[in-house]
Structures are given as structure tokens and as C-alpha cells.
Point group: C2
Chain length 171, copies 2
């Protein structure tokens, strides 16, 4: 591979890791995802360890997390005992998976927590302002939940331009 291309790929992997960090995702996990996304063939744990300079344990755990998120698949080659890992290739599908997981892991628990707070706050007049604020927040969080639910259930790449059109109409 040309030196320029190699360097560009490395830069991309690092940037993707950086971004992951800003959104609360393990930086190494994001780098692994980036590496697999731009790889034209499945990689083994050893390939990834070499490329990103991480330990076997780290590679194993983060690859498992990527599989749990539905972003990476395990595959195997005939006459080869090793496991290979391949990223989901379709960008829109990646987007759906991330939406689905974040909804489940981070939005739904918040809805539950606000509900509990509402219950605990009771019906006193004293709590009225607090209840009002919680209900407003709940409305917003439910909107986000709804949006992520929509996105997460789509499977076809064709939906992307549709969303774009709708949003443009939003003015």
C-alpha cells in the first residue's frame, strides 16, 4: 500500500476514535470499528492487534462489544481455525444499529428514571413545578426515543434520502 494511503487510513482511524470518545464510546472500540470499516477483507484479532498496537485481551473484549452492538460479524474461513471479523458495510445499516442500541441502552433507562421521579415526587402542590419540568423533559426524551426507534427499525438504504427530504421541508 502507498505510504500516503496508509497514512490517510491511519488518520481516519484515529479521527473516528476521537469522535467515539466525544460521544461516550471507548476510543479503542471506535478505532477498531473504523479499521474494519475501511478494510476490504475480514481481519483476525492478530491483524487488529498489530495494526492498532493493542493487547490480545483488549482486542477480544472490544471486538465482542462491536459484535454486541451489531456493527461487526464473526466469520470464518475454510481450513483456517482463526476467527475473522468483518464490519457491516452498509453505512445506513450501521447508523440503524447504533440508533437502536443507544435507544435501548441510554434513552429507555432515562425514560424509566424520569417516570420513577414523577411517581416519587407525589401529587403535592409543592411538587407541581418539579412535575411540570419533568413532564417537559419526558416529552423531549420520548421524542428522541421515537426518532431513534424510527431510524433503528429501518433497514433499507433508500430511507436516507427520504429523511433528508423531510428534514429539508422543515425549514
Amino acid at each position: 500500500m502507498g505510504a500516503e494511503l496508509k497514512s490517510a487510513k491511519e488518520k481516519f482511524v484515529e479521527s473516528w476514535g476521537q469522535m467515539g470518545g466525544a460521544w461516550g464510546i471507548n476510543r479503542t472500540m471506535a478505532r477498531m470499528h473504523a479499521l474494519l470499516m475501511i478494510s476490504d477483507k475480514p481481519l483476525t484479532a492478530d491483524d487488529i492487534m498489530a495494526e492498532l498496537a493493542v493487547s490480545r485481551g483488549n482486542a477480544s473484549m472490544n471486538l465482542r462489544a462491536l459484535v454486541d452492538w451489531g456493527l461487526v460479524r464473526r466469520t470464518s474461513l475454510p481450513r483456517d481455525r482463526k476467527e475473522y471479523f468483518a464490519s457491516e458495510k452498509d453505512i445506513w445499516t450501521i447508523c440503524c444499529r447504533i440508533a437502536r442500541e443507544r435507544k435501548k441502552r441510554e434513552i429507555e433507562p432515562v425514560i424509566g428514571a424520569i417516570d420513577e421521579c414523577l411517581k416519587e415526587a407525589g401529587g403535592d402542590k409543592e411538587a407541581a413545578a418539579f412535575r411540570k419540568k419533568l413532564n417537559e423533559l419526558l416529552e423531549l426524551v420520548r421524542l428522541l426515543d421515537f426518532v431513534l426507534g424510527k431510524v433503528g427499525n429501518q433497514e433499507k438504504a433508500a430511507v436516507l434520502p427520504k429523511v433528508l427530504t423531510l428534514l429539508k421541508a422543515m425549514a
Copy 2:
């Protein structure tokens, strides 16, 4: 304040902090934001230090960050030398500010980084697949940028139901 209400408020503050953490935001900053959101009057740094059990330095730095994000305003009372802090109260405005800042801080840099990678990758046939993938990602990140831009520029609470309607139409 009733013990139940107090406990409900504390629970809410902790939950909001938890959620912040999951999205890459300092937990204490998120807790301060929650506390100010549900407070019916502005609070001083001392109030916040007492309520959340944090040091003066920590309070000062995180309050400044909240002001930078446009989520909290400094105010002052006549015949009182102390500074008071008040959260923006309108939920939709809060949402806009967050969208605007995250776009600026986290989406725009990624667009820049991908552009740079594209430039560095060069036009070789060898780099074709990589360029294709980067362009797909760029398209997606730009969509997100566009959405956050739209949301971030709205100022009226009336927009919320409008978005909801559009999204419901999305099927």
C-alpha cells in the same frame, strides 16, 4: 421541602448526570445542569457546592462550561456581591443549544478530518475503495450536521410539534 420531593429531586439529578456520562459529558456538569433546571430560583456557587458536595474549583469550572454551552446564565442581585446562576428554562431552547454546540464541537471537526483524509488518500486506483467509503461516511456525517444545524437554529418552542409531525409521516 417534603422528604419525598427532596429524594425525587436528588434521584433526578443523579439520573441526568448518569445520562450525561453516557453521551460524553462530564457527570458533574450534567448534575449541575439538572439541579439548576429544577430550581425555581437562581443559585450561587455555594448553594451548588453544598447540594452536590463538590469543591469550589469544580463548581467554578463546570459552571463556566455550562455558560459556554449556553445552557446557564449568570445573574446578579442588587446589594449582593455574589453571582447567581440560572438555567435556561425552555426545554426546546436547551435542546437547540446542545445541538448547536455538539455540531460545532464534534461534528464539524469530523467533517474536516474526513476531508483531510480524502485529500491525503490521493487519486490512485488503489485508494478507490477507501475514497468511496469515506465519501459515504461523509454523506452521513453531513446529514447529521444538517439536522443539528436545523435544530440548533430554531428558537421557538412551536417547532417541536412540527418536527414530531414530520417524523410521524416518515413511516
